[in-house]
Symmetry: C2
């Protein structure tokens, strides 16, 4: 044993404790070189970082994009869950099909029809552990280390974590108020392909982007797919919020008119219950088999009981009515947040006006770094997510994400009121 | 359009149909080069292959290792599931911690204590989607393409699929009736390391191995870990059946005395309910953080509702009594299978005598390939899994796996009776 620090400590600790410390230190050292190259790329998500903090009593959390489950018919759902086990427990608690139950895959096609995808077939649906897992599988199936994935700037932090775990090079395309700018996408692709890069797919959240709340304008949608098709790049469309548009009909997803070029990902996390971890991918026919086998190699099969509960919900409940309730609820909360921002925020800030979803994206003056402001905000009794989380860049960010989904309007107003002096002080210090 | 077949068909099909076929064929062709290198390695599991067939009425399935859920208290579980949603629905249906709930992680430490692991801490437990997902995460965290993973021969088909999905080189170590042979393991490691190979871990199912039913003898257990430690190789111990020993106390897992060198994987699939997809990994302290972050990047968090149901089961039910019930039940079924094999099988066959678990491993004379016998067996009304599924080799196998867990003793006897003439005929044809 040559570790000097440990030798120095020998007079202070019993020999057994020293042995245990030495063994642990030695194992840590010995095993360090066993990690895969990708392991070093797997980071803590900033959203998950503040997940526990957000639970502290007295804090107003504008951090997490949790849906407001209080409006679900919990008593009735309790009875449904009970009768699934009582009447079909031997199926619900047993292993099931790796692709998901036939009933739920057929029902998912109806859900997608409500969004404008009219030609989906149950055999091309793969049920996954939330859409997070659907992204993971897509990356597994398509990306070698060093391959390029394109994303909007900003984009979903969980997707960035997934891509980095596969050692993918993530390249961003800028948005304006109407979403990703087609010309910039085309130029970016050309530059990367000219440089010999292998671009595998564009990951996009076209409706009410997380974190920005920005929606890709209808007139840009086909153009985005056409640009990708010409460059032989798949589109990975993440649409968990699509049905939660505040006014009017849902916008047609990119997938609707492009069955061969778009892998579409949906989720019950925002329109029903995230705690069940049930999402799905609608995969082009010619890519389905490899996608499905990769899903199976990760989890064997999705939980049967959870699928049956979602099926019962879609079959026996007014799930479209519940979405109407959510739409009204989130529209009201979004309004409360926008009004509070207007009332309390200092000059020099701007923010997006979302047409749906869960998030408002706030831009501070150049030079403000929102990351160190998080601690001050927590001291002031409010939590947000700093903008740097939503970009692959290591540079600091003058943006922040506010979620209005999980807390009632008066708490939203109070949270914004608490946040305002923290931001004012940061701007004054410039 | 230059595809001649399509041009030939032009007179027979409407132009629109031709266009659709051409577009699909063109997309399939265009996208072929987008697959990752690992995608080509992801295969259908032979077990999953016959999953649907096994459901056919009239067939006796000795294929799937499904637990016999009929002995669970379904009425009471129905009430429990209902009250979780009625009383704690806002937690059960919401996002949760990426590592799993604190309550369940503490309870899992008690489950492991029943197996002989007495020093497990909840903070080193990561809850996963079954132990399949725990294997996937370990491979993600430790294996680069081309790295070596050691396995027993034969081993679990799902693990092989996972390793192949990460382009890992799987190398086998032979077993005898007392499990993996330490000298062979040591020689194998030496040969591979001399050849410059990077061996990352030994994946082992020491108790009632799937598919062979063989148990690693107690006197070999520490020796196996010591050999790996000396070579700086982790041990990935998969122990879903450990508590299902027919007689006497469970054998001490490899993890028990080796907290720094073994990642231990457990599951509620065999001792409670696979349809909930709840398993876990107990990870050495110094490896925990990277393991946990990788888990989070795949599924965000395990399903809260399912974890709460398992917690209620461990808290309020006689789960140890239920395991006693299972032990008696599976012991009886194993006896029925062994007796039926004795009665019906032709000369020239041998089989293992398991001390627990779900499986008997049958060896036919050299030269018989069990794969083509599967179709004949299905025609005769019985399903098994051909041995080739459980080895990374592409060679044919004269072995087959029979599961006694899922069907009652009289059906087991009938299944073996139906299988016998199929095997007799194959041997006669040699």
């Amino acid at each position: 044993m040559t570790n000097e620090t440990l030798d120095d400590a020998a007079g202070l600790l019993p020999a057994e404790a020293i042995d245990a410390i030495e063994r642990a230190a030695t194992s840590a050292h010995r095993h360090e070189n066993l990690f895969s190259e990708r392991a070093a790329n797997i980071k803590q998500s900033a959203v998950r970082d503040v997940f526990d903090i957000s639970m502290r009593p007295g804090l107003v959390s504008l951090a997490g994009g949790s849906p407001y489950l209080q409006s679900l018919p919990l008593e009735r759902l309790a009875a449904t869950a009970g009768s699934i086990i009582a009447e079909n427990g031997l199926t619900a608690l047993q292993y099931g099909s790796g692709q998901g139950t036939e009933e739920l895959r057929a029902q998912i096609c109806e859900v997608m029809a409500a969004e404008g995808i009219l030609d989906a077939l149950p055999q091309n649906v793969v049920i996954t552990a939330g859409s997070q897992s659907a992204q993971d599988i897509a990356t597994k199936v398509f990306c070698n280390p060093g391959d390029v994935v394109l994303v909007e700037n900003p984009t979903y932090v969980g997707a960035l974590n997934t891509f980095e775990a596969y050692q993918v090079q993530v390249e961003t395309v800028e948005m304006d108020g109407s979403g990703m700018v087609p010309d910039l996408l085309e130029a970016r692709i050309a530059a990367l392909q000219t440089a010999g890069k292998n671009i595998k797919f564009l990951y996009t959240i076209p409706s009410f982007n997380n974190p920005s709340g920005i929606t890709l304008a209808p007139e840009r949608r086909q153009e985005i797919v056409d640009i990708c098709r010409r460059a032989n790049i798949l589109v990975l469309e993440d649409n968990p919020y699509g049905l939660l548009r505040f006014d009017g009909e849902p916008l047609e997803p990119l997938r609707a008119a492009n069955p061969s070029d778009v892998i579409y990902m949906g989720s019950f996390s925002k329109i029903f219950a995230p705690g069940l971890r049930i999402g799905w991918a609608l995969v082009p026919e010619h890519l389905q088999r490899r996608y499905y086998l990769a899903a199976e190699s990760v989890t064997l099969c999705p939980p049967t009981f959870n699928q049956m509960l979602v099926s019962a919900y879609l079959r026996d409940y007014d799930w479209k009515g519940q979405i109407e309730t959510y739409r009204g609820l989130y529209a009201q909360r979004c309004q409360a947040m926008l009004a509070a921002l207007e009332e309390y925020m200092p000059p020099g800030l701007s923010w997006t006006t979302p047409e749906g979803g869960f998030f408002v994206w706030v831009t501070l003056p150049e030079g403000v770094d929102t990351y160190p402001l998080l601690k001050k905000a927590i001291d002031a009794g409010v939590v947000f997510i700093p903008g740097a989380a939503f970009t692959p860049s290591v540079e600091s960010s003058n943006k922040l994400r506010l979620a209005f989904s999980a807390v009632p309007p008066d708490a939203i107003v109070e949270g914004v009121r608490r946040l305002a002096p923290v931001l004012r002080e940061a701007i004054a210090a410039l």
